[in-house]
Subunit: 196 residues, 4 copies
């Protein structure tokens, strides 16, 4: 089975998810007139900052997905569904982003946002496992994944963030941002292994 | 004629259809404040569960479409329109999903949802016939399709679901879910034949 | 210059345009309750029928664009802009469709719809000219286009439709539908020439 | 690393951004009835004209991105992020376009629009630098970019436009339009160098 259409479909979904998040950022309407002042814009900052965070996350997923599939040589039916499962969680991000932004990072919304991030991370983990099942233990893919310390650390941090969210939402947002910063460095493991 | 652009266009439409369904899941707005409680989220469960069902259906169609076209070697003008006809029915799914979800699976909405599923299934059947017309009876495609028992069973089940919907909408939703489960196993017939 | 990205970008825009038209078909909301009756659906028929007409038109453009570019061997900078110009007119179709559908084919809306169709047809004509400028008079492309009788007839019929619209909107819609039926047969000229 | 998926993802995002701008152009609803007169349409002209300007800008970016990546032979992880950074700014254009159009080119909205254009131009500049870091000084890419006078002039003109906007918004819109006209001619530098 060829990986070309899997990549094309994933690129399509990720491109759309990353773009429709902007639709959650509604053009400000004031009372009577339309709201054409910078003050109207200023009120949008929680929506905008949650958009930026989600944009970075989706960029990370696209980057890692891109690196991951470059090391892949064979895919099977299970991989198609593992990939769709990842896309499902990522498709929920615009909703979670909008809810969190419009409610100024209220506790419940930050819990949901963390839950979606956790779901996507677990789905990515499942996708990696499904791919490894088609590759030998000494394949470039298996070597590139290795112990996957960054992936495991992220899962722990998401759980910490979710636990913190009900008590201190802002701290949780800080944790989510920290995870994004950890990943912002693209997956050099795979890049390094492929370069050999 | 090359099948590359047919695949690319279909991937594009399916990726968009699967993603805009999330737009039907409106960020909850409460009275006065915005609705930042889990209770506000809880009210969305019919919308969410119908989204999940439609996501799975679109995943199934993408998967089967992917398998189908891999076995295809030649396409003609009729195939382009048969494919567009399938995409037309699938493009109605977000609307049917939103209507069913927002109305808590009311009878009429479940009938419509089943009707769209039936239309898509018939359109897929027509697409398969249009493709078979370009391939010999002993081609990998023809062998892979075979008697298409799963396809015929689905058509019957959709009709059963639609008939049940006015009387017991929930039973109908159960039937639609059962059809999805039948298909969740990707089309191993084609995979097996191609592997030979 | 390679035509691959031109095709990919055009496929992307057409796939999105064809899909966001469904967003104009708003899930019906009744008074108090949500509007879960077939009667609520029935009120949507002008929106739905205008959606079907536009879907067919976009399918025709995608089909002809696909055939056209298959015969093309060289593209230049001018072609990129001629193609964007065509996509511009097609991107206006969801708006024109929504306006016409929501207003039950009122005169002004039918005039605008015809105007967008006319603009798209002229833009397609310009694109064909821009492509011919890069190909010899005896190239497959030039032979396949030929006298372009169907294209010229369509321009005349759009003008007739627009002229009729203020007086008899339904007659104009009939003319637009007739043009779609003329084109529904994919451009066999190119197919035939390429088959040689 | 292959540039194919980078191009496909960028094409996807740009195709979506260019298309969802139309969603900001809401179908006009009058009082009581729907607003099916040309007068209702006429009220949309600021929205429409800002849509046209943004469409042209996105067309320019797609064109230049297309030319730029054709001259590229190698990409690295930094390029992926530089590209996402460019897409981020371009994804803000529908919002800025809608805000400016709906508020009839009010001062603050024109400042924001110029700011987004400036951000996108800087991001494009960063992307070019990131690409040059992977290519020799005498590579086709480096020769094609050259002194990048048009890029530098644009940055200055955006700043002039932003400075003018608070005082004379229309003058600023004129400056933005002038920059678009400068770029409407596709990047012949790269085309010429590649032709050698």
């Amino acid at each position: 089975m060829h990986k070309g259409r899997l990549e094309a479909f994933s690129d399509g979904v990720l491109a759309i998810v990353i773009t429709i998040m902007v639709l959650e950022m509604k053009v400000p309407h004031g009372d009577g007139a339309h709201g054409a002042e910078f003050a109207d814009l200023h009120r949008l900052w929680p929506v905008f900052s949650s958009y930026v965070l989600s944009f970075v996350y989706l960029g990370i997923y696209w980057n890692n997905h891109h690196h991951l599939l470059q090391a892949v040589t064979r895919i099977g039916g299970g991989v198609l569904w593992a990939n769709l499962h990842l896309l499902f969680w990522l498709s929920l991000l615009p909703f979670a982003t909008g809810w969190m932004g419009e409610n100024h990072f209220a506790a419940a919304t930050v819990v949901l946002y963390g839950g979606v991030l956790l779901g996507a991370a677990l789905a990515y983990h499942v996708l990696v496992r499904a791919l490894l099942a088609h590759h030998a233990a000494d394949s470039p893919l298996a070597q590139a994944i290795g112990a996957d310390r960054k992936g495991k650390l992220s899962l722990v941090l998401y759980l910490v963030g979710i636990a913190l969210a009900s008590w201190q939402p802002w701290l949780a947002v800080g944790v989510y941002t920290a995870v994004a910063l950890i990943w912002l460095v693209p997956d050099r493991r795979i890049e390094r292994t492929l370069a050999h």
